[in-house]
Symmetry: C2
Subunit: 120 residues, 2 copies
Amino acid sequence: MGSDSVGQFEQMVLTAILSLRDDAYGVSIHQKVQQLAAPRDVSLGAVYVTLDRLEDKGMVRSWLTEPTPERGGRAKRCYQLEALGERALQESAATARRIWETVQEALGGRRPKWNPVRPK
Amino acid sequence: MGSDSVGQFEQMVLTAILSLRDDAYGVSIHQKVQQLAAPRDVSLGAVYVTLDRLEDKGMVRSWLTEPTPERGGRAKRCYQLEALGERALQESAATARRIWETVQEALGGRRPKWNPVRPK
DNA sequence: CCAATATCCCTTACACTGTTGGACAAATGG
DNA sequence: CCATTTGTCCAACAGTGTAAGGGATATTGG
């Protein structure tokens, strides 16, 4: 593939990080990805593995936070997009849009049912 | 994955077949996919392999045509979506749309959602 | 007819992505 | 302490994405 292209799952993970802004860590990213992927199920492990690989590729950066004072509130590893990741996301999002539009044109009057993103 | 989900490349191939209607065969599908994937390059072999796998999964059907009276006009293997493939495509296109929208929202309210560009 | 040329189909093999399932770690509350 | 909650991470397998090549069959023109 092109040196800075991403697969579909990686794309969703990048999108989740972007939209979660300051609160992007494993669990919250997992939830967001699940919304995007609905009605499919996504495992938590899949998210962590993908985060690792995205970091290796220099698309995201991570750091550890302090523990929060809640029951079981462990330290979290938070994530943020790097410039490379943001570019890759924009490019693949543009492709996603082209696909969507092409499908719409081809399907003509027939209305596909999509699941709107509902905030939790 | 879900039993009837597809990857990103498979999605583009399905989209190409759908939009090409009566003229969907190896070479034309390859061209269409290249448009969708731009600016990335796509190999012809990749298309054939993917077509094979999609047929194995029951997402597309294929048949051979008669040769056409052009220079080198060989018989073509034409493709058409099966019901299963159309459903899978609609679902993944809906996901593509959700990704696109989420990215747009996150990248700033300053940017217009998207201009309802109506092709003439 | 027969070579040249054009169009198209298919296979093999490998790297990378997607996914599962569970192991391990730290904080809290009783 | 010990059970519970929240969270991170790993090992390993299945599946997708890709390149690189091999061939088959049609028309054209000498």
